[in-house]
């Protein structure tokens, strides 16, 4: 039982490391982890869950706004600015980068550019969400690290 748990924790650590190495997450995610403790044991996951909720709303509004003709670039930029802010707050590095590309096309009033980069934003967001959901699910299954390390 104990050995199994230790293996799981090692796996989780590897997954976590790859999220950083592959550029999905940045330093801000570590900052969130530092704010987690025994009094707030699920802080990171709570923040990330808030992020999913907010993101669903932003992405829906952006989708709607991109259907309009002509495009309201100012509104698109404002929406994306907020979504970018949320992404930045959880350390979603790749998502943040795609948001910046979108805003560049917004500023250039480039309709095709906006539509294309929006697809990239959605793709990065979906990928990150899947990876984080798997990561947190695994962490929950493995239980707290103290249990695994308790000596017999």
């Amino acid at each position: 039982m104990e050995r199994n748990q230790m293996q799981m924790h090692r796996q989780i650590a590897t997954i976590r490391k790859s999220l950083f190495d592959q550029g999905y997450l940045d330093e801000q995610f570590v900052q969130l982890e530092e704010l987690q403790d025994n009094s707030n044991p699920n802080f990171v996951e709570e923040v990330v869950t808030l992020f999913y909720r907010d993101s669903a709303r932003f992405l829906y509004n952006l989708d709607q706004a991109l259907e309009k003709r002509p495009l309201d670039f100012s509104r698109l930029d404002s929406l994306m600015h907020q979504f970018k802010g949320s992404s930045s707050s959880i350390g979603a590095k790749k998502v943040k980068i795609e948001c910046t590309h979108f805003r560049d096309y917004c500023n250039a009033r480039n309709t095709e550019g906006c539509k294309r980069t929006f697809q990239h934003v959605k793709k990065e967001y979906t990928t990150l969400k899947k990876k984080l959901e798997a990561y947190f699910q695994m962490s929950r299954q493995a239980g707290p690290i103290e249990t695994a390390c308790r000596p017999r």
């Binding site: 707030n40 923040v47 808030l50 802010g85 707050s89």
Partner: protein
């Protein structure tokens, strides 16, 4: 916990090894004594004077983003601040206005020591909130910090010109909050020392006789004593 006042007490106490000894001793010489360290003696008397200092600094945080509100609240709590979070400039002014109405020494608990506000908010921006606060005779002394994801020099300049204490780039980090706390404590410390000297004059005769430090009025024993006397509570 030490206050500026207790530091001067402690250096006096430790140099003299003065300990209170009970006058009504009905025990044999083998009765166990509880030793009081000089610091404990100080805390007993300091509690009467230093309560404003042991209270946490109170921050009002303003941000329209749920995520940022949650994170800033946690950052501040971890740094031992008391936190109130609101989602708009108008709600912030409402809160500060309520606090104004209750403005007396009884409501020290609610007193806001620092306001941290996001810059880009719908309705009233953080900049507009800053201006309103700095133009208010009752609120202008409260330090205001702006938080923004955008590193725009002209924006930073205008915020500082309007009287912002600092401009923090988002996402805000623990190190930012720690730095802020140090600078707020410095200015609060100066204010509290002023209040302390005022209160000390008032409290001098009000300390109960059972409290050890009341005996400070008695000349301390000579510092050459081989072993300190132990006190019995």
């Amino acid at each position: 916990r030490c206050c500026p006042l207790s530091l001067s007490f402690s250096s006096y106490i430790s140099s003299t090894q003065f300990i209170h000894s009970s006058s009504s001793s009905s025990s044999s010489s083998t009765t166990p004594f509880i030793s009081i360290t000089p610091m404990e003696t100080i805390n007993l008397c300091c509690d009467h004077i230093t309560s404003p200092i042991s209270k946490e600094l109170h921050v009002l945080a303003v941000d329209d983003s749920n995520i940022d509100r949650k994170v800033i609240e946690r950052l501040l709590k971890v740094s031992s601040f008391k936190v109130t979070v609101v989602d708009s400039g108008s709600r912030a002014l409402q809160y500060l206005g309520l606090e104004e109405d209750n403005n007396s020494s009884q409501f020290d608990d609610l007193k806001v020591n620092l306001i941290m506000t996001d810059y880009s908010m719908p309705g009233m921006t953080g900049f507009e909130l800053l201006k309103k606060i700095k133009n208010s005779s009752t609120l202008k002394e409260i330090p205001v910090v702006i938080m923004s994801s955008e590193n725009i020099l002209t924006r930073i300049d205008s915020c500082l010109e309007e009287g912002a204490e600092d401009y923090l780039l988002k996402p805000v980090k623990l190190s930012d909050v720690r730095r802020l706390k140090d600078s707020i404590l410095k200015s609060e410390g100066a204010e509290i020392r002023r209040i302390q000297s005022h209160k000390r004059k008032r409290n001098n005769d009000r300390l109960p006789s059972s409290v050890a430090c009341h005996d400070l009025s008695v000349p301390p024993p000579s510092p050459q004593q081989p072993t300190p006397k132990l006190a019995r509570l």
